[in-house]
Amino acid sequence: MARRDRARTIEAIIYGSPHFQISHGPMRDEIGHYRSASNIRNRSTRRLYQVFHLARAVDSTVSTAALIKSNKRAKGLGHGLNVLWEAATGQAVTHGDPYSLYGQHKQLIDARNKYAHQAGAFPADDEEVKRFLGRCEACISGVLVLI
């Protein structure tokens, strides 16, 4: 199946959420940018654009979800995931628990931070980009189940 179908599926899930009725705009815009980024010719630019746009969608999905669920403003992606997980399970997250939402998406957060903050850190190949994008999509759809 095509990448476009998956992006549209994610978009539908976001737009169909009662919690995002007002604030779905920015997330859907990012996903739209992400979809159109595949037309960029320059390889490394294309990869970075895809990575950034989807990572930004993940970021605001998670922070919005955390705000809705527990009225806390998330300090970052990791904190937002922890807040959400606490709200969903009703238990405090122990530090470094690999089986929490944060532990599940740790690789995503690490990769995002590397691409965003490290000079010269481009995704090495298309395989890496695809893996990252797949994780982002899984993260968004997983987060939306838990709110």
Partner: protein, 302 residues
């Protein structure tokens, strides 16, 4: 072969006409109507996903295979039910009596929604979507309680644990990629050592995980086989429960590749309650890992 080509063309036509009809009925320019649905956790999801003003409809139509064995259709619905948000409204385009366990979820007014003709995805007749039915469904919202979310979180936690085990196995096989920095390599090494220690710890646990071998081409059939997944996800009165203690191990020679999402098969198989393993792997070791998982589930998740 020629018939295949024809039927895919017909399904595309069917989808288009459904999309057209639904957008006419809803009269909502903003509605997102997507078909085919490609969900990251599902190999086969709903046939059509409709989103409009904070509501999500998932539409299911039994394929030819599924109408021969209704259990498989039920299985697809179950897995989609666990993967999609709790407020999703599930619509059955085919026979309602097919799904006794999920009656609470399926909206009852739908036999009149003749989206399909018996036995196969509708390609023949014109698609009829009755406006009043869709509107009445659109007004309907499922109440989502805290318990519902908690039960889902429990199921996802189970899925994360299975996933951690399968990723541990995968990592053992693959050497760190060259693009990884030195710090990454160290981190991977460290976690592998920690995990190995934990695996050794769990050697005392009893072994009850079951092992199923499968050819790559049969994976999809196996996942949607009701016997295989039945005790993993239970849907009762609109809620999902995870109940099996230990996951099964799925041994395959190779995963079919998905060109746009390399991890998709591993993820979908894990989500269906299996830990994928390559036939090269040391099965005793994998099994020890699974017993560790079992201990964890008993001790912590419950």
């Amino acid at each position: 072969m020629a018939q295949n080509v024809k039927s895919t063309h017909d399904i595309a036509y069917w989808r288009q006409s459904i999309q057209r009809r639904i957008s006419q009925v809803l009269a909502d320019n903003q509605a997102v109507i997507q078909s085919p649905v490609d969900h990251p956790y599902l190999l086969d999801g709903p046939d059509v996903l409709v989103a409009f003003s904070g509501k999500l409809l998932a539409l299911f139509v039994a394929s030819r295979d599924e109408s021969i064995s209704p259990d498989r259709f039920e299985q697809r619905v179950k897995l989609s039910f666990a993967a999609l948000p709790a407020h999703t409204i599930f619509l059955n385009g085919s026979d309602l009596d097919l799904l006794p366990n999920i009656n609470g979820v399926f909206v009852e007014a739908l036999p009149s929604l003749s989206l399909y003709s018996k036995g196969k995805r509708s390609h023949d007749g014109p698609v009829e979507v009755r406006a009043d039915v869709i509107r009445s469904v659109a007004r309907h919202t499922r109440q989502v309680s805290e318990d519902d979310i908690r039960e889902r979180a429990r199921l996802y936690k189970r899925f994360f644990i299975y996933d951690a085990v399968s990723r541990l196995n995968l990592r053992k096989l693959k050497p760190p990629r060259q693009s990884d920095s030195l710090a990454d390599k160290h981190r991977i090494e460290r976690t592998t050592i920690e995990q190995t220690a934990k695996l050794a710890e769990s050697m005392i646990a009893e072994r009850t995980a079951r092992i199923v071998k499968s050819r790559p081409s049969d994976l999809r059939r196996l996942i949607y086989n009701p016997k295989a997944t039945d005790d993993w996800i239970v849907v009762d009165d609109g809620r999902v429960y995870a109940q099996r203690d230990a996951p099964g191990i799925l041994v395959t020679e190779d995963f079919p590749t998905n060109s746009t999402d390399p991890d998709k098969y591993a993820r979908a198989i894990t989500f269906a309650g299996w830990v994928p393993a390559d036939s090269d792997w040391d099965l005793a070791r994998v099994e020890r890992g699974l017993n560790l998982v079992k201990g964890r589930i008993r001790g912590k998740a419950r």
